[in-house]
Amino acid sequence: MNTTRCICIFLAFVLSCGASGQREVEYAAVGVGRAARVVEARGGWQVTLEEARVALGPVYFCATQAASADLCPSARAELLATWPWDALDPRSQHLGTVHGVTGSIGSAQYDFGIVWLETDTQPRALQGAVDGHSAVFRGRATRGDRTLRFVANIDAIPRAQGTHVVQGARTSADVLDSHTRLEVTVDPNLWWSGVDFDEFVDAPADDVVVVPADSRAANAVLVAMTANATPQFRWVAP
């Protein structure tokens, strides 16, 4: 057996030369948030977030630029780890490790901690979801002397089994090796700019408004997260 092993090792050294196309790469992913600020929302409300925790993932980076799950049977890179991160912290927060192969990237498909896999009969939250949700917010909305304190648990649920919440966000990169870093940027303040708090104006003054999942406000945040102010992906020097 030793002879066999020696021959095998010798062959491995002598003959394992030559390029074989794409190479595997591995690099870190970091999340960068935006500090809380006052944003102008619908209906003259001014919104200030005090907490914004988000779960992003899994994320698949595809060669195609098309927004179609059918055109990404094989990804160029992926970030499978999902855990909550503070989207109001502008410092880099470690999100996990991106695994992939070299080559150009044209689009991204991803979820926010809630997946509906091919084999699942219904959507489910990943272990890294924010208390079982895609995002958890706390803040206040002010118009004149009226202030509403609110909390919201947002669930971004894929529309169909075997799909992602975001099927094809255009992004562009050419990853040549592992000497890079993925930077994911979100601005949770903007996600609330489309909300009209008139929906909750009748709430008692001292109560904290719990934004219902089926409310127009929750839907507006969801639309912003998945369509109007989606996470931005950049590959930067580490």
Partner: protein, 679 residues
């Protein structure tokens, strides 16, 4: 039979039986540069790698049984699919392996080369062989070859059964072959043969290497889901052939062959786990990617050739010509469906097609001696192929679109392929030959890839070789061959596990060297040893697709899955020791060693090298022999094949979509006790 190139090998029975062989396909492994495996079980055709070509199930290697071509055009599981499992090894007299395309007789699929099995039983009498041992393996073979009949007249039968070396690997098969040679008149000989075969096997399938390394599934196991455990294959094969030869009074010869063949394959495999979505009903998803492929092919064919008498133009210039034609027609029905285990409910239809294919080929072959030291052989060959395709699922209408037509796409196409083949052989001394060969061959396209009226795009291969052959003491005692070769292929194919079929990868080139020694230093000792090294590269980026619009490409990129180095040793001692009362004791011992260098894989990875040792020991009398066959004697854990693709078997919280290494396990050490009766 004259050699057509330096790498034209005739493997005789003493070499073929030197070491244990699991089936007839394993006989090919003795040829230089050939590696044969059965990663998809006993009912699916063997996979062949030859001189840097991953010939898969036959796409790059023309396989024949006598005059009958075995490659099936437009097969649903792979172009040129040819299962050698129906051939009973005991009935094989010799195998001729021509590496390269230098002979005008070589037809469709002779890209890396061709192999022809010659039937016959030189050891006349009645033979029975029983094998049994590891993993519930049992094999019974019987051959009757009456001593008063010529050696190409015989009958043979075999039954095989095994529980397999791991979960879901049980298999059974039965084969029968018979051949009758009759001399109808002086110079007129007719040989007819029939063969029938059926085989069913369960398949363990492919495993992710990361799942095995993490202990989530055993090396020889399969995934514990119904969709994985319902993998199976059923193959049947029926063929009949008639060869007639008439020798003329002046030295000419006329040959005529007629054959018919009916083959079926129903194959259920799950390569990718749970990733597929129904195209008919897109809301159906995640029911298991158990892909059922079905192929039925009824083929009729004929060959005819006229050999002129030897023509003497001058004392130093003489030779002969041969003109020949070949024709075949195939009627093929094929389907691909997705099944939901365990009830095998169909949840998607991918292919439902009927293919009518026909081909006509013609060639001229010259064999001329020009002076006593130069011999020229070769000539042109031209082939025409016709396709008539009824693609019943063509012009598919997605459920999201308004129906404006009925589904279906019927189309026809025709293509021509032609090219020269030839060899010049210099023989400055009786025991030394220098050979230079060049040839152009082709592979026909898969009919379903053709468009209406398209000039069928053949994959064109150009092959060149220079070789030196030395026969010290005569070719019966020793033949030493060294060759350097170059092969370019205009459009190569590679197996895509996600489709379960072959996909185009672009043009490729192989440059290699090979050395072979066949030694018979004593009547009781035979040794065949070979080493082949090849540098196989992709010459251009793979074709762009919608999901991969800019395929990465590095010039000089190695072809994946092809081992650069293949070495093989077969050696056997077959000795008779006189005992008391003159009854000789027969002793036989044989060993084969196969070495594969690390195979390049996608994404800069290399598979582990492989070194397999098989051994045979037998002793007994002329009428009764007992023995032991050991395959993979070192009990090496190895992968018969490795792939890189995306799969998901539910072994992680979310699926990875980065191509991962997958493999099919090679058999562990297998020990078989053998008993042979000869009457």
């Amino acid at each position: 039979m004259a050699a057509r190139a330096g790498s034209d090998f005739i493997l005789e029975r003493d070499v073929l039986t030197a070491a244990p062989r699991q089936d007839a396909s394993a006989l090919l492994a003795t040829a230089p540069g050939v590696y044969v495996s059965r990663p998809e079980g006993e009912a699916v055709a063997q996979e062949i790698q030859l001189r840097g070509f991953d010939a898969e199930h036959g796409q790059d290697m023309e396989l024949r049984l006598g005059s009958v071509p075995l490659n099936q055009p437009s097969h649903v599981h792979g172009q040129g699919y040819a299962d050698l499992g129906f051939i009973i090894p005991e009935a094989v007299r010799a195998v001729r392996v021509t590496e390269g395309v230098y002979d005008p007789h070589q037809g469709d699929f002779a890209v890396a080369g061709s192999a022809t099995y010659e039937l016959g039983v030189p050891e006349r009498g009645y033979h029975l062989r029983l094998e049994g041992g590891s993993f519930g393996a049992f094999r019974l073979s019987g051959v009757w070859a009456p001593s008063d009949l010529p050696e190409d007249t015989f009958g043979a039968v075999q039954f095989r059964r095994t529980q397999g070396f791991g979960r879901n690997r049980g298999a059974q098969s039965a084969s029968g072959m018979a051949q009758l040679a009759v001399d109808l008149a002086p110079g007129v000989r007719v040989v007819g043969h029939v063969a029938a075969h059926g085989s069913r096997a369960n398949l363990a399938g492919i495993l992710r290497r990361d799942d095995v390394e993490a202990g989530r599934v055993g090396f020889y196991e399969s995934y514990a889901t119904p969709s994985a455990n319902m993998q199976s294959a059923l193959a049947t094969h029926l063929q009949a052939g008639l060869d007639a030869e008439r020798k003329g009074d002046t030295g000419g010869r006329t040959t005529f062959s007629l054959w018919a063949q009916y083959t079926t394959l129903r194959l259920r495999q799950n390569f990718t786990g749970f990733l597929e979505r129904s195209r008919q009903r897109p809301e159906w998803v995640g029911r298991g990617d158990l892909v059922e492929q079905s192929n039925r092919d009824f083929a009729l064919g004929a060959r005819a050739a006229q050999h002129t008498p030897r023509l003497h133009v001058r004392d130093w210039l003489h030779g002969r010509f041969e003109l020949g034609i070949s024709a075949r027609t195939d009627l093929i029905d094929q389907t691909v469906n997705l099944l939901q285990a365990p009830q095998n409910e169909t949840w998607d239809q991918r292919v439902d097609a009927r293919v009518g294919a026909a081909s006509v080929g013609a060639y001229a072959d010259a064999d001329w001696q020009v002076t006593s030291w130069l011999r020229l052989r070769g000539g042109p060959r031209v082939d025409a192929l016709y396709f008539d395709l009824d693609d019943r699922l063509g012009n598919f209408i997605p459920s999201s679109q308004r129906k404006t037509h009925l589904v279906g796409y019927r189309r026809t196409a025709l293509g021509l392929a032609y090219g020269p083949r030839g060899t010049a052989e210099l023989t400055p001394f009786r025991e030394l030959s220098l050979l230079a060969s060049y040839g152009e061959g082709y592979r026909s396209p898969q009919a379903r890839q053709l468009e209406e009226g398209e000039s069928a795009p053949f994959a064109k291969v150009r092959s060149a070789e220079v070789a030196v052959r030395v026969t010290p003491g005569g070719p019966e005692r020793a033949t030493l061959t060294a060759a350097a070769y170059y092969t370019s292929l205009s459009s190569d194919l590679a197996f895509d596990p996600t489709e379960g079929a072959l996909e185009k990868v672009g043009p490729t080139t192989r440059r290699g060297v090979a050395a072979h020694a066949l030694l018979r230093p004593a009547p009781w000792l035979v040794t065949s040893a070979s080493v082949t090294y090849v540098h196989a590269t992709l010459d251009a980026p793979p074709p762009a697709t919608a999901d991969n619009p800019d395929p990465p490409y590095v010039p000089g990129r190695l072809l994946p899955y092809v081992p650069p180095l293949v070495a093989r040793l077969d050696t056997s001692v077959h000795h008779r020791i006189p005992l008391i009362r003159g009854v000789p004791l027969i002793l036989q011992a044989g060993t084969s060693v196969t070495v594969l260098s690390p195979r390049p894989l996608p994404h800069g990875q290399f598979a582990d090298p492989v070194m397999l040792v098989d051994q045979r020991v037998a002793f007994g009398t002329q009428h009764l022999q007992l023995g032991v066959d050991v395959m993979n004697a070192a009990d090496l854990r190895y992968a018969q094949n490795e792939y890189a693709y995306v799969s998901w078997w539910g072994t992680s919280e979310v699926p990875s979509r980065i191509p991962a290494r997958h493999f099919s396990a090679g058999p562990p050490r297998t020990v078989l006790a053998t008993l042979e009766l000869h009457l």
